[in-house]
């Protein structure tokens, strides 16, 4: 039966191909992490992590990227808090107040998904036009606003996925015991989903700290650690980007070292996110 054999061969071939593509994906990740660590680790030093650029820094002389590390943390922290202030109430509103209007909620989800797809450079360009319009110069504040716009859809959609899983009975019993909708939202829903909400916040923070295109126009760049919201701010992604375009080897090496710092931060965030998300799945009420 030659036809039977052909079928077997086809299936076997595709199983090999499927296995290979899975391996390719896993290898790609290890290759990325490994090449960054291999190239960057030798240049990571205490001075690089704890000092700001000194004279001649961009010609390979002393100093570090503390300005960019602190700047990135300020920026992402500010944006994450701002996004949380807008995003958490929105996600709760969709899942508590609008629970009877599923069509409307699905419309909002659709819109958020669309916003999620908007490239960060478009947010950057938009932030820039707003800055020009109001006459604000490139600053930490302008950067925080732009990044907030960019991470809100991510945060709300991840929280929404978590809040969606709360059984309706919990809402009904809370309301029937006389609590208001706001109390139900913040004291029942948030409490029930806290690990999931934390995961959503961490994911957004990771997005905020890693994005370069949205802050290229809006935060500027400086060698100093910002002390006020209206000052320009250095950030890690831009520090990597700028130093790598230098022809001087020492400066390039520092770009690789900065990449190690950024990768480390991102890895820590994803590990934390996984821990909290595992916790959420353990606490989840299943019906």
């Amino acid at each position: 039966m030659p036809e039977m054999n052909l079928k077997k061969i086809e299936e076997g071939l595709f199983r090999v191909l499927m296995f290979c593509s899975t391996v390719i994906i896993a290898t790609a990740l290890f290759l990325i992490i490994f090449s960054i660590l291999y190239k960057g680790l030798p240049s990571v030093s205490w001075e690089m992590l704890t000092s700001t650029p000194k004279g001649g820094f961009y010609f390979g002389k002393g100093g570090g990227v503390l300005n960019a590390i602190i700047g990135s943390l300020y920026l992402s922290l500010g944006a994450t808090i701002l996004a949380l202030i807008i995003g958490l109430p929105l996600a709760l509103y969709m899942n508590v107040h609008l629970i009877k209007h599923q069509k409307l909620v699905n419309g909002i989800r659709f819109m958020l998904d669309l916003l999620w797809g908007v490239p960060s450079i478009v947010y950057g360009a938009f932030g820039f036009t707003i800055m020009i319009f109001f006459g604000i110069r490139a600053s930490l504040l302008a950067g925080i606003f732009t990044v907030t716009l960019f991470i809100i859809p991510i945060m709300v959609r991840s929280m929404d996925e978590v809040l969606k899983s709360v059984p309706r009975g919990l809402l009904e019993s809370s309301l029937s015991l006389g609590s208001t909708k706001a109390e139900t939202s913040y004291r029942v829903y948030v409490k029930q989903c806290i690990p999931g909400v934390i995961t959503a916040v961490l994911l957004s923070f990771g997005r905020a700290i890693g994005d370069a295109a949205s802050i290229l126009f809006t935060t500027g760049y400086t060698d100093y650690i910002p002390t006020a919201l209206n000052q320009p701010t250095a950030t890690l992604p831009l520090a990597i980007f700028f130093q790598l375009s230098s022809p001087i080897v020492e400066v390039q090496n520092r770009a690789y070292a900065s990449a190690v710092v950024l990768v480390t931060i991102i890895l820590i965030i994803s590990i934390l996110a996984r821990v909290f998300s595992a916790k959420f799945h353990k606490n989840k009420i299943n019906f």
Binding site: M18, L31, H97, L115, G210, L262, I266
Partner: protein, 301 residues
């Protein structure tokens, strides 16, 4: 008395929270309108003097003499996006079938964090990886192998980096789609005597087709708007690329590269904002169509 005051306080608090929720909703839902209006107002200056068609199809990009032809950039964007999709589409499709149909538990346990971490790696890191690995690979091995001497900074380098970046994105959607297909379907096919592979080929993939196409559409729009990673490896030469090994200059890279000087040349900022507007509109349309197809196909499930 005291009880009533607490009651009023509670309801007042409920009102305040409720209004803030509505305000947040309004803020977020109007964002696309603001984006559209903000970018349109800025690009209007340029559109007043040139028709959109000459801008889109003119090859001349000479900001100093007021000529803004986007054609080379649009073509570069299309090249990188399409090649990236051609690389990542088969990998994603095969992997998603493997993970949902064949893979053992331990494989899933390893692959889930890998996909998550890949999705979380910042684009500047992908760019650094591109410069460290992909560009030298093309200039030292692939180029000479094809009998060409190339710098490595090319459409192909951009596409390879992009393809890895969009893999987790497409893969997550595909896995979701394959999981949502009712198991009765494949059980019916298996009980009629079809082999596992035949069932996948003729039942699962056929059933998932609209979802697969829209997942690729979403991946494509993601690739179309990706900036920093591509910018770092694609070469950035204003010329219409004719081959994989040539440098290109995609639209997002154009915007990102010239923000410094755009205020010193008249209409330059307007041209860059128009580039952002084009990106926004194209990505929104792609996303809109793809999401709609996904929702429609889920309805039938």
């Amino acid at each position: 008395m005291k009880f009533r005051r607490i009651q009023i306080g509670r309801h007042l608090r409920d009102k305040i929270h409720g209004s803030w929720m509505v305000i947040s909703l309004a803020l977020v839902m109007t964002t696309p309108v603001f984006l559209l209006v903000g970018l349109s107002v800025k690009s209007w200056l340029l559109l007043e003097e040139n028709s959109i068609f000459t801008l889109l199809f003119s090859k001349e990009w000479k900001p100093l003499s007021g000529q803004f032809g986007f054609y080379p950039f649009i073509i570069s964007s299309v090249w990188v996006t399409v090649v990236a999709l051609l690389i990542s589409a088969p990998i994603c499709l095969l992997t998603s079938i493997h993970l949902t149909q064949y893979a053992k538990k331990w494989v899933l346990k390893i692959m889930h964090p890998i996909i998550d971490i890949l999705a979380g790696i910042p684009s500047v890191i992908y760019g650094v990886w591109g410069i460290l690995v992909v560009v030298p690979f093309i200039s030292n091995y692939l180029g000479p192998f094809m009998g060409k001497s190339v710098s490595g900074y090319s459409i192909l380098a951009g596409a390879i980096v992009l393809s890895i970046m969009i893999i987790p994105f497409i893969l997550n959607i595909l896995i979701e789609i394959f999981r949502n297909i009712p198991t009765e379907l494949s059980e019916a096919s298996l009980s009629l005597g079809a082999s596992k592979w035949q069932t996948i080929k003729f039942v699962l993939v056929r059933r998932a087709m609209p979802g697969i196409i829209s997942a690729l559409g979403l991946g494509m729009s993601r690739a179309f708007g990706e900036t920093i990673a591509v910018l770092m490896v694609v070469g950035n030469v204003t010329k219409i690329p004719t081959g994989l090994f040539q440098p290109g200059y995609p639209l997002p890279a154009l915007i990102a590269n010239n923000y410094g000087e755009m205020l010193s040349i008249p209409l330059y900022d307007s041209a860059l904002m128009l580039a952002a507007l084009i990106l926004f509109v194209v990505v929104m349309l792609f996303n809109f169509a793809s999401r709609l197809v996904i929702i429609e196909s889920e309805k039938h499930a």
